[in-house]
Symmetry: C2
Subunit: 195 residues, 2 copies
């Protein structure tokens, strides 16, 4: 980066303004996606909430898919459990973070919005990426314990403990159900390998 | 039902015509929901596909929620495994039927459409009812083996084996992953109670 580039990206520069606009639109789009019907995700409505003109939005993000991708950008890094090395504790902690993300970030609405728009290949790619990233810590935790079909099954089963009540019944599981799921999965013949 | 009522509901009567209209609109609405974007679920589009006038649709099903409920009506009874008494076999069979419903009926798109519209209380009620009914056979199978938090965990875990890949990655699990999930759940200390 040259000094000239640096000054262009400084606080008052054009790039900084674009970045601020992007951040505001991203936040507004995510808010609409998680707090309203996904049909509310229109240029006019997001522009109003973000405090920018409809023209600005159409210029930078012309399509509805652009708005959806902006909302997903606004999600940022999801909360994850910091591994302690105690498998049971770590997996329960990770599912509690997933539950927290459903309650606080309305991750359930993000998931369904992505799934609904997934027939658009561009959205399917973003969705796959976000969901792969989101599951990575759980996958890493379980890799020492399960492999192959068992590993894939274990990941879906644990994700399902939070995802299924959220997506099918609009609720999150009680903490004792999360613990019961982890104990059901980690008991059995290979238990000695845990911890 | 009086004889007069009976004749009114006969093949050529007014009630039969209404029933035929309802069935056609229901089928068309479900087709749009599962084969197109949920935003395509409009009176004009469903009317065109069903072969009825927009006015007819607005008269009987004035709101968009009405159209969504018609689509869900069109789903009818979901396919289920006929229990044989062999728990492992029955649970695997039930999950295979769920997988089949995702592939053939696009149940994944029905699930996300219901979840997306669930902020409307009326839709949330229908969704809860449909999902409860859909899970009932699995719940019945597992009730002899698990109870309380373990039972709720087990149901979400097994549903998750099909639901999570479908909703998060647009895929269905290979058969060996379904079998691995069932074996992971049914192994362990209480195994002797199975079958």
């Amino acid at each position: 980066m040259t000094p000239a580039d640096r000054s262009r990206t400084s606080e008052g520069g054009e790039d900084a303004r674009v970045a601020r606009t992007r951040a505001a639109v991203s936040r507004a789009a995510l808010h609409v996606l998680t707090h309203e019907d996904s049909e509310a995700l229109t240029h006019a409505h997001v522009a109003e909430i973000a405090g920018y003109s409809k023209t600005t939005l159409y210029t930078h993000w012309p399509s509805r898919v652009d708005l959806l991708k902006m909302a997903l950008d606004g999600l940022g890094d999801l909360p994850h459990q910091t591994p302690t090395g105690d498998l049971r504790n770590d997996v329960i902690g990770e599912l509690m973070k997933f539950k927290q993300a459903v309650v606080e970030l309305r991750l359930d609405r993000v998931l369904t919005a992505m799934a609904q728009s997934a027939p658009v290949a561009e959205v399917a790619e973003v969705r796959d990426h976000i969901n792969r990233e989101a599951q990575q810590p759980l996958r890493t935790m379980l890799t020492g314990r399960f492999h192959g079909a068992q590993l894939e099954a274990a990941i879906s089963m644990l994700a399902g403990v939070v995802a299924c009540p959220s997506l099918m019944f609009g609720t999150v599981p009680e903490d004792d159900i999360i613990a019961a799921a982890v104990d059901l999965l980690l008991r059995g013949p290979t238990d000695s390998a845990s911890g």
